[in-house]
Amino acid sequence: MSKNNQGAKKILSFPQMGNYYIPVKYLFKHIFSCEIMSPPNITTKTIELGSKYSPEFVCTPFKYTLGTFIESLDRGANILVQAGGGCRYGYYSELQEQILKDLGYEFTFVNFVTAGNRNIKNILKEIRKFEPKFKKIRALYYLFITSKMIKYMDNIDHYIRENIGFEVEKDSFIKLNNRMLKDFSKVKSYYQLRKLYKSYFMKFRELKINKPENCLKVGIIGELYTVMEPFANYYLERELASYNIEIKRYTNAHYLVFEKAREVKKYLKYASEYIKYRMGADAHDNIGRTKYLCTHGFDGIIHIKSSFCTPEIGAMPIINKICKQYNVPVIYFSFDANTSEVGIKTRIEAFYDMIEMRREK
């Protein structure tokens, strides 16, 4: 294990979350001169490494990102990027830097979000640490393309989630999605990206599906990292799709970065009989969504979070109350480093049986 990576070629790495490493890598590749390494895929080893060096009752995303950092450092990265904000996310970076330094690694740590708020001056200062010749205009252009790429990815994801449970040919959606992501990472201009997106969207529509009109519909809400990283929720969506269920999920990267500030007020107004104030992170959003899902004919709600996620724990009694009022079943999953996958499968199966039986009545 080579721990001293300093002085050699600059290699930058970042935490893993879902498929979003593709746009992030695309952005960094075009605006930074150093080499970009995509984060290694999350495996059981990642989470083992992460939990070994994490504080006792920190929430699970901390463990995942720390584990990813250790793995990337072992593979030769020497610049690490972390960003976050909201609840505890904003404070991850300082402690993670300290833990990794205590372990003996040498690297530059770049923290894009401090104190939970984005500040352009700070970000530029952080970037200049490792990239003295940073070009702002060029960065803006690629930031624009990346934001659009994330938006398109999320739109496609949305379509996939609604229909993947009813695909005729097995894995056709996933295969096409992988091909699309591969093409996305090679685009040179916004125009090209948009053309690609439109053609792929047509291809997705042409994929054969066998969807009954009144299929079972389930909404997934919860803490953002667990919702967006399939390994962290033990491939819950794939599991649900195998039961021919249409899935609705709100949280995605585009929502968090561009829409959240605007939407929060709407959610607070919409669910005003239950909540008056923001409750931290996504908790108030989830309460608004619960009310929406309950009143729009969904058969069930699945609430997932990493264990010890404080904001979601606060929201849970209220979500419970709403679901009881509208008589919609809700199931809570709390994922930790050593949750058993079989246990989750059993619970999903039971939940599926229950909503199906309610339908038949």
Partner: protein, 304 residues
């Protein structure tokens, strides 16, 4: 006419703002009922209402609200959002009002502390006074009087705490949220244990919070929780005068899990980390404290 009865749960915010509230509501001619120190019944009640993953301090809070709900006209449940961008609070303080409102069927007096948007204790309490039929000037006068009294009590505490630093005894700094350490059921037994070993206990919250808040940046410069900042700053303030630090947190406290861990990695004083779970077994903690004090003793003697 009967006096209006205001209930104040003896948990969470009470340990920060309790004196101000008590005096203010007495000044505006209300009857104040503070729930009794935490006991087994209150905890059991709290656990019944709470979600099983909630922080222990929040469970206790809900227990206190459950105790008060039939005994008074209003229960005071304020919400603390932030004092400024770098002084936010744990999300439990953000959510507490909505949790109580949804779990209990009772009348709630509520105000919001969000200093960035010009909402603070003064505005909130004066508005409550106006709802009770006071004129603005009357409410302001009552508030100022209450603030004076509360500040006097606080200054007295600070003086006592600082004086302890001058003695030659073994001195231990207790770094913990006041709602954990002054809680009858969890914190007080630990303090009693420490007193048995003849050490002087310095409390992290009984310092001038303006000073400790700024000093905390020396330990961690991106920390943004006010209460954690105040407490960690006190380590920096007195680090040359004390022999050791004891961290006490309730399980599973969000800010503490990160901030205390970082502080432990950065300070070069002997420390002990105690996490209080919902258990009655304090013997284990006693053994750990005993050995910790022994180590401090040996260290101190070898220095002489």
């Amino acid at each position: 006419m009967d006096k209006i009865k205001i209930g104040i749960p003896r948990a969470l915010h009470y340990y920060y703002l309790g004196n101000l509230w008590k005096n203010y509501f007495e000044n505006i001619n209300c009857e104040v009922i503070v729930s009794p120190p935490t006991n087994r019944d209150i905890i059991n009640n709290g656990i019944k209402y709470a979600n099983d993953e909630m922080c222990l301090a929040l469970k206790i809070y809900l227990g206190h609200v459950a105790y008060l709900k039939d005994k008074c006209d209003y229960i005071l449940v304020p919400r603390i959002d932030q004092y400024d961008v770098n002084n936010q609070t744990c999300t439990n303080f953000l959510a507490i009002y909505d949790i109580v409102k949804n779990l209990f069927d009772c009348k709630i007096l509520n105000y919001n502390i969000d200093v960035k948007n010009k909402e603070n204790d003064f505005v909130g309490l004066v508005e409550i006074g106006q709802v009770f039929g006071l004129s603005t000037s009357q409410a302001i006068r009552a508030y100022n009087k209450a603030l004076d009294t509360a500040n006097k009590i606080k200054n007295k505490d600070i003086i006592i705490n600082t004086k302890k630093l001058e003695t030659h005894n073994l001195k231990v700094l207790l770094v913990s949220h006041p709602y954990v350490i002054y809680d009858q059921y969890f914190g007080i037994p630990i303090i009693k244990m420490l007193k048995k070993f003849n050490v002087d206990i310095i409390y992290s919250d009984k310092f001038d919070d303006k000073r400790t808040n700024l000093l905390s940046t020396k330990i961690s410069n991106t920390l943004y929780w006010k209460f954690s900042r105040d407490e960690l700053g006190s380590i920096e303030l007195v680090k040359n005068l004390i022999d050791g630090v004891i961290f006490i947190s309730s399980f599973p406290c969000g800010p503490d899990s990160l901030a205390n861990e970082l502080a432990m990695r950065r300070i070069d004083l002997p420390y002990l980390n105690i996490i209080i779970d919902d258990i009655d077994a304090l013997t284990g903690i006693e053994t750990r404290i005993e050995s910790f004090i022994d180590i401090l003793d040996v260290k101190k003697q070898s220095r002489r």
